[in-house]
């Protein structure tokens, strides 16, 4: 028999390797073209429902092919020791400097620390945008700028500069308030109205202060008043010394003055009649 019925009415035809098939044996319908050279005929040929190997729709793999694919799946090679058990290599830090943007931001950080006398570090919790704009506005009135810097950029800059002790502050979300003047009182007043920003510490005139230090600094009087007080305190002792030294001569002068006045009064009483020309002589 030359033709076999497969599943769902598919007609299979045994390939005739040596002799050509008779025309009347073939069933009516489309069939695959039979090549002339008989040696290359496949063993089984799909005659009816001719779907080619490469189709536009999804075609299920032959079962043998499925088995082959399952057996030859890729298995990734596993290292004998998992990499997380090995000691970690610290090469990540070198790669940062090559990034131009990072270098620019670090330069900005250095400039901010160099140009401003007062730098306050605050913790920044999420704030609505309008509040942020208002805060920026109030601080700008007092010449205080609000700056955001990422911790990864600030940490290497600080570790190489003299502000090493500010390093533990730069953890979690931070905000920097920088200013060329040291208006701590106004800054504290504005920050009191904003509960979402907590002052952690500040560096004022190269002096690192904690929150309590900033509050004490804000309570100090103005610089001129303090200078006047210092000058007064310093000049107190020399003025006391000079008054001590001059006391004896001043005492003598006062005694002589009193003596002269008494003599004048005495002369004026006894010499009531003599002419007034004599009295100026007596006074000299």
């Amino acid at each position: 028999m030359a033709a076999l019925r497969g599943g769902s009415g598919v007609l299979w035809r045994r390939g005739e390797g040596r002799h050509r098939g008779h025309g009347d044996r073939l069933p009516p319908g489309p069939s695959l073209p039979v090549p002339l050279s008989a040696g290359f005929l496949p063993a089984l040929q799909l005659v009816r429902r001719g779907s080619k190997a490469v189709t536009r729709h999804w075609k299920a793999m032959h079962f043998q092919r499925q088995k082959l694919m399952a057996v030859t799946e890729y298995v990734a090679p596993r290292p004998a020791v998992p990499p997380r058990c090995l000691p970690r290599r610290k090469e990540a830090e070198v790669a940062e400097e090559d990034n131009g943007y990072v270098r620019l931001l670090q330069r900005q950080v250095e400039e901010a620390f160099r140009d401003n006398r007062m730098i306050a570090v605050c913790q920044y919790n999420a704030m609505p945008g309008e509040d942020m704009v208002l805060l920026r506005h109030y601080l700008h009135k007092h010449n205080i700028e609000v700056k955001f810097f990422l911790n990864e950029i600030v940490r290497p800059v600080l570790s190489q500069s003299k502000y090493r002790n500010l390093l533990p502050l730069f953890v979690a979300r931070n905000i920097l308030l920088v200013s060329r003047e040291t208006k701590a009182k106004e800054m504290l007043r504005v920050l009191k109205g904003v509960p979402q920003i907590n002052l952690l510490g500040a560096c004022i005139d190269d002096t690192i202060l904690s929150r309590q230090g900033v509050e004490n600094f804000a309570k100090l009087p103005a610089l001129e008043v303090v200078q006047g007080q210092a000058v007064g305190a310093l000049s107190l002792l020399p003025s006391q010394t000079s008054s001590l030294l001059q006391r004896s001569s001043a005492h003598l002068t006062a005694l002589l003055d009193q003596h002269i006045r008494r003599l004048q009064e005495g002369e004026g009483g006894t010499l009531a009649q003599p002419s007034p020309a004599q009295s100026p002589q007596g006074t000299h």
């Binding site: 570090v121 913790q123 919790n125 999420a126 533990p168 509960p195 002052l199």
Partner: protein
Amino acid sequence: MASKVHVVLRPVKSIVVRFCPFESNVESTRNFLGCINHKRIQATNKNCEVTADVRHDGSEPLVDVMFVDGDRLIMKGANLTTAEMLTALGTRCNAKEIKEEQKSKKKSP
């Protein structure tokens, strides 16, 4: 990851977060403070007061939570992660919520 933990602050009256920023073990506490101040969690209870107490006395970081029914939860954040603190607070809040719901259900019929 810590921001995905949703905490319902309804049974909480006030939260005080105390830390010394110049110490090295305050990162998780500061992150906790940041997460608590997120608008999503703040929206669950507008009456809850969150206060940050910044000191410089070398003390441990501390989170003090006062509940409406008088309970108090103290978390020492020196060796805790942010997620642990948030989940601890979250589970206690949920437990209290469930208790209150059961109480209200018992009272209503």
